[in-house]
Symmetry: C2
């Protein structure tokens, strides 16, 4: 090893879900939306004046922030936007988690949290979910350097009440509390209603799931003016121009198209409820999901076997070989047609397994 390598920040990066490049597969592994983005967003991309690309984009993403302000009834100076909610969350970790005390989050949760702690050298501790994958709020009534909890949780899909989060906020005025609401639009109640009351609450959402815009990269956060100002100071200390022009404009159009948003979101919720029935019939068990995925385990056939056999049939779901969840599959809700193909494949796989 050369001496310059002594000063390198060594990390074990996050592993994203596989992104196969062929198009004939059924891709239910990264919680993408099966529907295209709003036709209004599509239209703005098509009409985009590419001469504009020669100029730096608006550092404040004003058009997008203002559209979000209008839609959510939150002042523009209480909204932060970033390149996906991963950008928003990692920036929030860097900005707010600088205590000697550990940041706390559930043991089964979004697997980027410990990676961000590692890369930014933040101490952390995990709190075990109960056996039914719900959170025990009492675990969060302790001294800490910050709290981050997804709601609904990933990969479990379990939704917790705004009241539970309020109880955690009441007990934690000395650290920043982040509620990661990537999946909130699929049937949950947002904690955004609490931002007036708790200056240290940051609520993070994304365009990657309910708005079908994972490929455009937009995440955003609501919080007190103070919290958002601190976040922006750090953002503007790293990269002034993160969100490109096309994304800013397409994002704003998507937010304005409420009708399309409701229609596609409701269809996913409908297919999710249908999928719950089907999975139960096939012998799967799962916590009740309020997200766009279901976290399921089969009564007799190991998750790893099902995962591999589905892949052979060109159906991708997500599997983690991790303690406590290594017999579960996370299945993204696709279209009705995609889900029916999945159930057909599952039928075959399960019956083969019974024969063997």
């Amino acid at each position: 090893m050369n001496l310059w390598e002594n000063n390198v920040r060594r990390v074990v990066p996050y592993t994203p879900g596989e992104q196969p490049k062929c198009s004939y597969i059924i891709k239910l592994n990264t919680n993408e939306n099966p529907f295209p983005p709003s036709p209004k967003a599509a239209q703005i991309v098509k009409e985009f004046d590419s001469d504009k690309l020669r100029l730096y984009p608006d550092t404040d993403s004003t058009v997008l922030v203002d559209a979000l302000a209008e839609r959510y009834g939150v002042d523009s100076d209480r909204i932060f936007v970033g390149v996906g909610s991963d950008d928003v969350l990692s920036m929030a970790f860097l900005t707010f988690f600088n205590s000697d005390k550990p940041v706390i989050f559930p043991d089964i949760t979004y697997s980027f949290y410990d990676v961000w702690c590692d890369v930014y050298r933040i101490k952390y501790e995990t709190k075990a979910l109960k056996d039914d994958f719900t959170i025990d709020a009492n675990d969060y009534f302790c001294e800490n350097g910050g709290i981050v909890i997804p709601n609904p949780n990933a990969p479990t899909g379990v939704l917790q009440s705004v009241d539970m989060f309020e109880s955690i906020l009441k007990a934690n005025t000395n650290s920043v509390v982040i509620v990661d609401e990537a999946y909130i639009d699929f049937g949950g109640e947002s904690c955004v209603k609490l931002i007036d009351k708790y200056e240290n609450l940051l609520v993070v959402q994304t365009f990657s799931k309910s708005r079908s815009m994972a490929g455009a990269r937009i995440g955003y956060a609501f919080g007190s003016k103070k919290l958002i100002k601190y976040l922006n100071d750090v953002k503007f200390s790293i990269n002034s121009y993160t969100m490109n022009w096309v994304t800013q404009l397409a994002g704003a159009e998507s937010v304005k198209d409420e009708e399309y948003f409701q229609k596609t979101k409701n269809e996913i919720v409908r297919v999710r409820e249908y999928s719950k029935e089907k999975l139960a019939e096939l012998g799967f068990e799962f916590p009740d999901s309020m997200s766009n995925f279901i976290f399921a385990t089969h009564k007799t056939v190991p998750a790893k076997t099902i995962f591999e056999k589905l892949k052979e049939k060109s159906i991708f779901v997500r599997y983690w070989n991790k303690d406590r969840i290594n017999n579960h599959l996370r299945i993204t809700i696709g279209t009705q047609e995609q889900m029916d193909k999945l159930f057909e494949a599952l039928c075959e796989i399960l019956s083969e397994n019974e024969r063997s």
Copy 2:
């Protein structure tokens, strides 16, 4: 102040050049390119299948990296891409500058370097440029935690030789050396030819200047396989999907359109040389610029006065109220027509000043 604020990372963010929203101004303040991006890049945006936005983008930006590999004759695994060169540079600071010894860079230089050091809590020391704004290589033959130098330097426009950088590299095998070549295409020789020889050399370039794509956000870096792997590990520990689909595709097309690149770049160089003559005639002095801007001071009229009077005439140039450079203006090279309007305005301002 509330207790949670004790754990906030406090920073003084970088101030980007003003981005006025009206369109009738002549904008020569942020070194953007006056020409639109390649028509091939424009075409790919127009034809973009927006259904694709529902899917996460390729984490590896393969299409873009491969186009760069082909154009520059560098293997794909020796290329890192990011959301503008600010993203690439800040990521490199975070990845490589983790020593107890200070990182060193010129005292007059890109004003983001000290901001990145501050946000990531990196020790640094600046080395004074000589009076003619050139670098004394001897200043960099000392123990350090890393080196970063722009070539050509900003805001001076001064180009240094590849030989000078090689002398610095020979003396520095124990830390990473970054050459920031944002403006190299306007007449400089790149240090990319040295990456085979020096494993600790990172050469950073951008699409924001010579490729007219500031609004798309693309920066990239060349280095050894090892260096690029370390950078990617940190990148994938922060945000797996930073570059959106549209940008990846448009960027690749731009790289493939060599003819347009050469044509527009040569025109900027031509207008720059013409502008040098004009500015000299008007009584300005400036180091010989090899970039797309000129860093000029007037023999009698203060820079601040000229800056303000130009702004009144809707012509924006860049001025810093900073030690050693507070009597200089950085003037971006626009089109011939824009520059002629600038010279006309300067004529008026200077003659008014002589009268008063």
